[in-house]
């Protein structure tokens, strides 16, 4: 198992390098640091000196890949690429526009993000799997039909409206919870209920429908007929045979997003004023803080790759066919 994980880790390296090169190209080759400086400084302040100063403050005044003026190893390290991209591998993300250390910011903001994303994820999973089970159990009935129609309708509503509508109704009209904000410790739950609830409802339509499809795919398999021919009651056929098989694609589809929960949700966090990584990202985008966006891209892909590895591992845990290979 350890050897397996190690092999997977090795496989992740070229992908991370690819991500790194891609983001570097996007941020430094498509536009030169001069362009960024002009943009950041605004029309009024654009003088060659100001640009130079802006670049120097951020370390953008060096060559991209190769510094012929430096000596020895520094030729490769005293460059934008090394400073901005390679050092991300050791967790050094540099500073944001406001001068704060990005790595520290990320560490403190992970908690609130997770406080929203994790309950949303878990609750959403339970609810949608249960609903999907009910629909699949009563397949081809009126309940199933209207259930699916409702799912499609729920899917057709933009996530923005769930948040706006939920905030308006629950917080503003009924005044059940605060509209937005975040608290520390146990008190936090009052701020968490609404965003979690909205997150669950917003994802309900598509995931329920998807899980139902997975269940129904199993329902018509031959082994289900065998189980019935044994004289097993329908509930047992469903919960022992069908559920167990359908859980394989469900679980593995779900595992890949678990690490990404750290990243939080852009929309929810910005609407509810939660100091997590999602709102951090949005603020950075609005402020055109490239250093932060670049860091988030990097972290996102690292987490995604971790997710892929967890998926592979979870496959080997739930699917005997792979476990014994």
């Amino acid at each position: 198992m350890l050897a397996y994980i190690f092999r997977r880790l090795l496989y992740a390296v070229p992908i991370l390098i690819g991500v790194n090169l891609l983001t570097f190209a996007l941020f430094f080759v498509v536009n030169t640091p001069d362009d960024m400086a002009r943009m950041q400084l605004g029309v009024k302040h654009v003088t060659p000196e100001a640009i130079q100063k802006w670049k120097a403050e951020r370390g953008y005044d060096r060559p991209l890949f190769w510094n012929p003026e430096a000596a020895g190893l520094a030729r490769a390290t005293d460059t934008i690429f090394f400073d901005k991209s390679v050092r991300m591998f050791v967790g050094d993300f540099g500073r944001a526009e406001d001068g704060r250390d990005i790595a520290r910011e990320i560490r403190t903001r992970m908690g609130p993000s997770l406080a929203i994303a994790l309950p949303t994820f878990l609750l959403g999973l339970c609810v949608s799997i249960s609903l999907a089970l009910i629909l699949a159990f009563f397949r081809a009935s009126a309940l199933d039909f209207w259930g699916v129609v409702s799912c499609v309708a729920l899917m057709s509503i933009s996530g923005l409206f769930y948040i706006i509508g939920g905030q308006y109704l629950v917080a503003k009209v009924w005044k059940l919870v605060p509209i937005s904000g975040f608290g520390e410790g146990l008190d936090a739950w009052r701020f968490l209920v609404l965003p979690v609830l909205i997150g669950v409802v917003a994802g309900l339509g598509s995931s329920t429908r998807w899980y139902r499809t997975l269940f129904l795919e199993e329902v018509n398999k031959d082994y289900v007929r065998t189980a019935r021919a044994k004289g097993l009651p329908e509930t047992r056929v469903f919960f022992r045979h069908i559920l167990k098989n359908a859980m394989i694609p469900i679980l593995t589809g779900v595992v890949v997003v678990i690490p990404l929960l750290f990243m939080g949700s852009l929309l929810t966090e910005s609407f509810f004023g939660i100091p997590g990584l999602g709102s951090y990202t949005i603020d950075a985008i609005n402020a055109q803080d490239f250093a932060v966006v670049r860091s988030m891209v990097f972290i996102g892909s690292v987490l995604y790759i971790v997710g892929l590895m967890l998926t592979d591992i979870s496959y080997t845990l739930v699917d005997p066919r792979i476990r014994f290979e």
Binding site: P14, I15, G18, V19, L22, T23, L26, F27, V30, N31, D35, M36, R38, M39, V152, A153, M155, S156, I157, S158, G159, L160, F161, I164, Q167, Y168, K172, L260, M263, L266, L267, S270, T281, I282, I285, N286, Q288, F290, V293, R294, M296, V297, G300, S301, Y304, I305, L308
Partner: protein, 466 residues
């Protein structure tokens, strides 16, 4: 001398091109996918939603024929001068809606503004709600008659809609009856019970719905702001109609970028395997591993820098907004081809081992020909399904991206910008709800139709049914 100068925006060209491609594809695949198409045609829900989507498309296409108006010649000026504003045919048709701006917010059907102002009265200045310039202006002093007026128009247009619909239904029945040599009664029965080879029932139902909603709207819209006005007093009905084009461009043009990438790379990886497969898989794993929103955000930010630092590229604001829209489509396309490519790769891997492809190879048929004649036609259903499925998610994505600030140009009317602008006003007391509600309803109908249509397409193109 022409009174206008046609303007070709990039997205116009692409949208019309796409329409052509779609029609062409339909004709080309009419034979090979005949059963699938006929199954789709039989499906009432599919035809009803297709009718609704066609209505949206019509609005979008009307909004995609742009021109600049000739300005009235200034005294002494001999040159022909065209206005800087780029209008579309839709703008021309909705001139009234576009031009009848109020000062600021007003509620649907209101005759007065939503904000208090100091009014000059004979009794001196008082705080009150001023009359609208256009909304209900024809009522003059008799503002109290508004409700009656609105209802009267609703009734009249309802009757008109019903008559129109009856006419349509009767015409269709007569036509079908003549063609099939059946009696009118039988034909109508067949249509109504969905026994016709083409689900006319669905088309009629959808047309009925459209008539019933939009005839009254049309009748009201001349004298009222049916859906109210926004902060700068612009008619919300006009805004939602304009938003449709943006949504369509995002939903359709993106696929134009994504499709060739996905098809070519997916098939090359699956059919040729080897190092090409490894490379393509590597590229899409890399692209996939960057969370979508972040990749889009990064790309859009860079695109913004590019546009902002090169103002000289654009003659008009519309062109700049348009190019930004196009760039957004390209970015969305570049980041979303991986899913379809993966599907096509897997399917190609499977198909290339099938005996009919082996048989072709046994004749020494060239790879290009095998791909063109054997692989592509048998992958077509996946492509069609993926396209319709993607449409609705792209429309939804536009709203979110525009909200986050990495979507369309803020000056471009879209569902996203509408929501973004209106969101702030929820805090007001009493709330300004109409912009949001209008955007919500139009978007919901568009996306729901697209989703239902996509479901029907998926069912109809399922190869297991052939």
């Amino acid at each position: 001398m022409m009174s206008f100068q046609p303007v070709l925006l990039w997205t116009d060209v692409l949208l019309w091109l796409l329409l052509g491609c779609g029609v062409g594809l339909g004709i080309v695949s009419a034979h090979t996918l005949r059963q699938a198409w006929s199954r789709l045609g039989k499906n009432t829900v599919a035809m009803a939603t297709a009718t609704l989507l066609s209505a949206f498309l019509l609005v979008g296409l009307l909004d995609s024929l742009h021109y600049r108006e000739r300005l009235p010649p200034a005294p002494g000026e001999v040159r022909v001068v065209y206005g800087v504003e780029v209008r579309s045919v839709l703008d021309g048709l909705l001139r009234q809606l576009r031009e009848q701006s109020e000062k600021t917010y007003s509620a649907p059907f209101a005759t007065r503004l939503y904000a208090k102002e100091t009014l000059e009265t004979p009794a001196g200045p008082v705080q009150g709600y001023p009359r609208l310039k256009y909304g209900g202006a024809h009522l003059g002093e008799h503002e109290a008659k508004r409700d009656k007026d609105v209802l009267q128009r609703a009734f009249a247009s309802g009757v008109l809609a019903f008559l129109l619909w009856l006419g349509l239904a009767a015409g269709l029945t007569a036509l079908l009856a003549r063609r099939q040599g059946a009696s009118h009664h039988e034909t109508w029965q067949a249509i109504w019970q969905g026994e016709t080879a083409f689900a006319w029932r669905g088309v009629l139902l959808a047309l009925g719905g459209l008539l019933l909603v939009f005839l009254p709207m049309a009748l009201w819209a001349g004298d009222y702001h049916v859906l109210g006005t926004d902060k700068v007093g612009q008619d919300v009905f006009y805004q939602v109609l304009k938003s449709i084009r943006t949504a369509l461009v995002i939903g359709l043009v993106t696929t134009l970028v994504m499709l060739p990438l996905a098809v070519v790379l997916g098939i090359v990886a699956g059919y040729f395997r080897g190092w090409a497969d490894d490379l393509i898989q590597y590229v899409y794993t890399v692209l996939n591993s960057i969370p979508g929103v972040l990749l889009i955000a990064a790309a859009v930010l860079m695109m913004q820098v590019l546009i902002d630092t090169h103002p000289q590229w654009f003659a008009t604001a519309a062109e700049r907004a348009d190019l930004r829209l196009l760039a957004l489509c390209v970015i969305l396309g570049m980041t979303s081809w991986t899913g379809l490519a993966r599907l096509l790769r897997g399917e190609s891997l499977k198909l290339r081992e099938l005996e009919y492809i082996q048989a072709a190879r046994a004749f020494g048929v060239s790879s290009a020909r095998i791909i063109g004649r054997h692989l592509l036609p048998n992958l077509m259903h996946i492509v069609v399904i993926a396209l319709v499925m993607d449409f609705s998610s792209l429309v939804l994505a536009e709203a979110v991206l525009s909200y986050v600030g990495i979507g369309v140009d803020p000056s471009m009317i879209s569902f996203g910008t509408m929501i973004n602008n209106a969101r702030m006003e929820l805090g007001r007391e009493p709330v300004v709800w109409w912009s949001l509600a209008a955007a919500f309803v139009f978007m919901f109908v568009l996306v729901l139709s697209a989703n239902l249509f996509a479901d029907a397409v998926r069912d109809a193109f399922d190869p297991r049914l052939d």
